[in-house]
Symmetry: C2
Subunit: 396 residues, 2 copies
């Protein structure tokens, strides 16, 4: 048999998914599994979004422009302008989800053997995009003790080599929920400027910001106007994960032209998804306010519940809908298996994502899990009950 490529062999299995067979097996045994392991929320999308589907009257579904429907690009540009960002339709390239946006960006910005500095813990699929682009992820470790704040400037400087081509951040963070301050972003912008590297920000959770804080974008910094690349998506904003519509925003013409050539090679982002995403731009501000309050309330509930469990530590995140949780166990992955294989509380259990897969540094995060507060409060409460009881049972 012909060999699989080295790239294919290097591709890591997703840390979120490797326990999925155990969850499926638990369900076959009749156990109810609360899925706090993935970012698939239960929140209804804005009703505006689905009008174009119900009213669909086309004879067929044709390709859009490779950069996306111009109307949608224009609408997106206005959306960002309303947030105070200087973005024109020509700066927006519509992609097949934020995933493709990240893949095209890395493919366009880095070469085989180049290095990209990423604060860890980070979204595990960054590893896969890096393998696909042939670059090396260089982690800079952030710490639970200070809520996964941006590591100090000196730690970045220490890691920069002639092969460093970019810094990649997620803000607010998946899996940390950390919202970077204006000061932290300013630091990142100054590093990017000084070392003439790309600053790529995955801002797909930009709408989920709590405690009255404001989200700051890498697009705000004039000094890195041509070096800042912003990745976004409608997946989380409108709970439209499955429509697969994201975008890259860059004011750098050369990068924009390169991204477009990658986009042309796959012809078009999904047309139906773009119809839905375009309609969703009419969502009234009340929707965002309601959803933000709902998540904020869930966050407050789950963080308090978790920190009340002996030995559990959970810093209160400022954004997104994840929190990182330190458990009083040596190997969180073993405990996650235990939850699915050997435990239930009145016929229910909970699925969590072991956090070590979110770190590039070996042996980091072994006693941590990522928890997505994507279920309603009653389910969150039941899931927390399971977790609490399971920790007691696991101690014995």
């Amino acid at each position: 048999m012909p060999a699989i490529s080295r790239k294919g062999q290097q591709l890591p299995a997703s840390p979120i998914r490797k326990l999925v067979p155990l969850a499926e097996e638990a369900k076959r045994r009749g156990i109810r599994v609360f899925h706090l392991n993935i970012g698939q929320p239960d929140i209804a999308s804005p009703s505006e979004a689905f009008r174009p589907l119900r009213e669909f009257s086309g004879d067929f579904v044709d390709y859009s422009h490779s950069a996306g429907h111009m109307k949608y690009r224009e609408g997106l540009a206005r959306f960002y302008q309303n947030l105070g960002l200087d973005v024109g339709a020509e700066d927006v390239l519509v992609t097949t989800g934020g995933s493709e946006a990240l893949l095209f960006t890395l493919m366009s910005c880095v070469d085989d053997g180049d290095e990209v500095i990423v604060p860890e813990p980070f979204y595990a699929n960054y590893n896969s995009f890096a393998v696909a682009a042939g670059c090396k992820v260089v982690p800079v470790t952030s710490r639970m003790e200070n809520g996964f704040a941006l590591p100090p400037l000196s730690e970045f400087e220490r890691l920069i080599t002639p092969r460093t081509k970019a810094i990649l951040i997620c803000n607010p963070g998946n899996p940390t929920g950390c919202l970077y301050s204006e000061q932290e972003l300013s630091t990142l912008a100054s590093i990017a400027e000084k070392h003439n590297i790309w600053l790529i920000a995955d801002e797909v959770y930009r709408d989920f910001v709590y405690d009255g804080h404001r989200h700051h974008s890498v697009l705000q910094y004039d000094a890195i106007r041509e070096q800042a690349v912003m990745v976004d998506s409608v997946s989380k904003r409108f709970n439209l994960c499955g429509v697969r519509v994201g975008c890259v925003v860059t004011r750098n013409r050369e990068l924009g032209a390169t991204l477009l050539r990658f986009a042309q090679s796959r012809l078009s982002p999904p047309s139906l998804g773009q119809m839905v995403a375009l309609a969703a731009l009419d969502t009234p501000p009340e929707y965002f306010e309601r959803v933000r309050k709902e998540y904020e309330s869930r966050r407050n509930y789950i963080v308090d519940r978790l920190n009340a469990i002996p030995g559990v530590v959970c810093p209160k995140p400022g954004g997104a809908f994840y929190c990182m949780v330190q458990l009083p166990v040596a190997q969180a992955e073993d405990f996650c298996r235990f939850l699915l294989q050997d435990f239930n509380l009145g016929g229910s259990t909970v699925m969590l994502a072991p956090a070590s897969g979110f770190y590039a540094t070996p042996q980091k995060g072994l006693n941590q899990v990522r928890l997505a507060y994507v279920l309603n409060e009653a389910d969150l409460a039941a899931a927390a009950d399971c977790l609490e009881a399971a920790l007691k049972a696991y101690e014995r």
Copy 2:
């Protein structure tokens, strides 16, 4: 400013799209442009396909399984089984169009510096996928004189080196329309077997086969059961180009697992597109029969019309909806520009794709164009009138 990656710089501009600005300019001048340059047909999709959109009642759109909705994978497997192919749902990975299927396949099968033999002229985006995967396209030239039949075994053998990892074909061919015979596929299978390389077939035009012939798939050959990879899509079959739903079919477990890891990195193929594609599987056989007859009739018309123009040569293709046309000009690309910039017949002109971009060998196909017979016969006639008049005007 930071540099663009070498990969990004190497990415070729699409030969189909580079004349697009001229077409847009012509339209601004009020000229009607017949688009025979791209494979975007005017045929109505089966009405069954859109029922799930009109009846959509979800609260949100969630991710599907990374390998696609199981119901759709099962439906696709049955579709192939009905064609006599031994395919199970577990052999099918649903992708974001045939484009992603090809990208993931190359990423999984070849490494940086590896070689993939491709009969030329070939679908130009293969070049982009090869750049993304880091491999080298090695062309083996097929010839208009014999309808772009498969080059003889000896020409393949001559090109095989230790770095050759795969042969990639498109059957029926884009841009040639050539339908490979059972004998030709058998030859390819024997080369793949003998040299232990992958045989990747892009069969997205498998439903468009004329003159009572039958389509043969690379999946038919038991000797290469684990080496044959088939790429397919609903884009052309049901004129659902914009839903972005394709698939890879492989019976090789290791390749399947690798493709799945690439698929997991982008989470999910489009959910709405899969709903539509699943519903389209209920399309009655009469639909395919009607569409096939329509294209066959268009092909017969346009090929006869073209060959009647002095100096024009157009072999009659056996499949797909393209034909390659030799024009009595030195540089077809210049002539295509002339059509858009300097010519109109009663306010109309025609856009064609210069064929040199479909060849990897320099200086090949300079006097050829690809024509897609994707418009109705009245429009095809008007377009042919334009072409004929333009050739006369261009001679002067």
